[in-house]
Symmetry: none
Subunit: 205 residues, 2 copies
């Protein structure tokens, strides 16, 4: 049976093709044609067999996924979904613990994801061009498990004028329960930064 040998090129190609598209979902069939030195029909047959949708469909799916995540606010630089933000006052974000955030055996979330949510919210709530975490004091009060929804609430405690430090307290809940608490000191720069950004702006300009 040289059939195995004969078929391997195809299977190999399909495997590599799937990998290539996963690595870069923005590849057109034509680009793939060049990569794999086969006709565009072959590429399309392969995609069919692998159940890989066309470029536009792939982009649409990605866009939809990100849209669901980001729709409330255009703060793409924040971990978790910001659902409320009052600059220099407070903010709320939601972050659901998924498989990729937990230790595989215990299904408990790794601390840095909890921190990431809190940290990026603490930075986002500061209305300045530059806002950097200077220091933080953290308590991981109870383990957070797979599929739990973390609701982080940030409160600016002291703003100490422009150009200096701001203290932000972040408390993260799962349901009614406090799971994390952090006190952040954030360095801030001079100028107020945000204008664009959709819902929240208007007042600044």
């Amino acid at each position: 049976m040289v059939r195995a040998i004969e078929r391997q090129p195809k299977r190999q190609r399909q495997q590599q093709l799937a990998q290539a598209i996963e690595d870069n979902p923005f590849l057109t069939d034509e680009e793939l044609t060049r990569m794999f030195k086969v006709s565009i029909q072959t590429i399309r047959l392969d995609r069919m067999e692998l159940g890989i949708p066309e470029l536009r469909e792939r982009m649409k799916l990605m866009a939809e996924r990100s849209y669901d995540q980001v729709r409330s606010l255009p703060l793409d630089e924040v971990i978790g979904e910001v659902i409320d933000l009052q600059l220099d006052k407070s903010g709320i974000s939601i972050f659901e613990i998924k498989e990729e955030h937990v230790f595989s055996r215990t299904k408990i979330a790794r601390g840095h994801h909890i921190f990431s949510q809190a940290n990026s919210l603490a930075v986002a709530v500061i209305n300045d061009e530059i806002a950097l975490t200077a220091s933080a004091d953290l308590r991981f009060i109870r383990p957070v498990k797979l599929h739990e929804k973390c609701i982080a609430k940030a409160y600016v405690r002291s703003s100490s004028g422009k150009n200096g430090k701001a203290k932000v307290e972040v408390i993260t809940y799962v349901g009614e329960e406090i799971v994390f608490r952090g006190n952040f000191v954030i360095y801030r720069s001079a100028k107020e930064a945000r204008v664009g950004g959709g819902k929240l702006h208007e007042d600044s300009d």
Copy 2:
């Protein structure tokens, strides 16, 4: 100049159109035609004037943004490359700051990436089945910039027997310079998990 009045319908429509697309970026020109009861050409003129790209371009932009985002959080196991690990004693990891870790304008690394490296190293160095961050005290001593290599060194300061807490200090350097310092308290479970000095990667859970 009643021109203002004359133009308002157009401007109003354009404003509403911009809003409509912001609310739901997945609208085709045809759907917008129905919404606004004007011809498809008018919709297209409006989009042109407003600088709003076509549906596919919008989806592509969203897809790209979400793709960048997905890449920006290395959700995997240990953040950074562990290059030395003496269980219950010390560990070293290296982590290079890339584009996806920095604030786009300032090119300064987001705090949670620095923390992630330190946190996962602190957890990795604990030789137990379960090791969870209980609390942490952090100082971000100086901003870390794009392309800088962070070398985190973790030292177990007190092991306090099995089943309890361990204190781990992590100091992160760029070159000779200290950029970050963190004191972690790690919860540990009963059983020792790992044997000898095996490979480093192994999940810390």
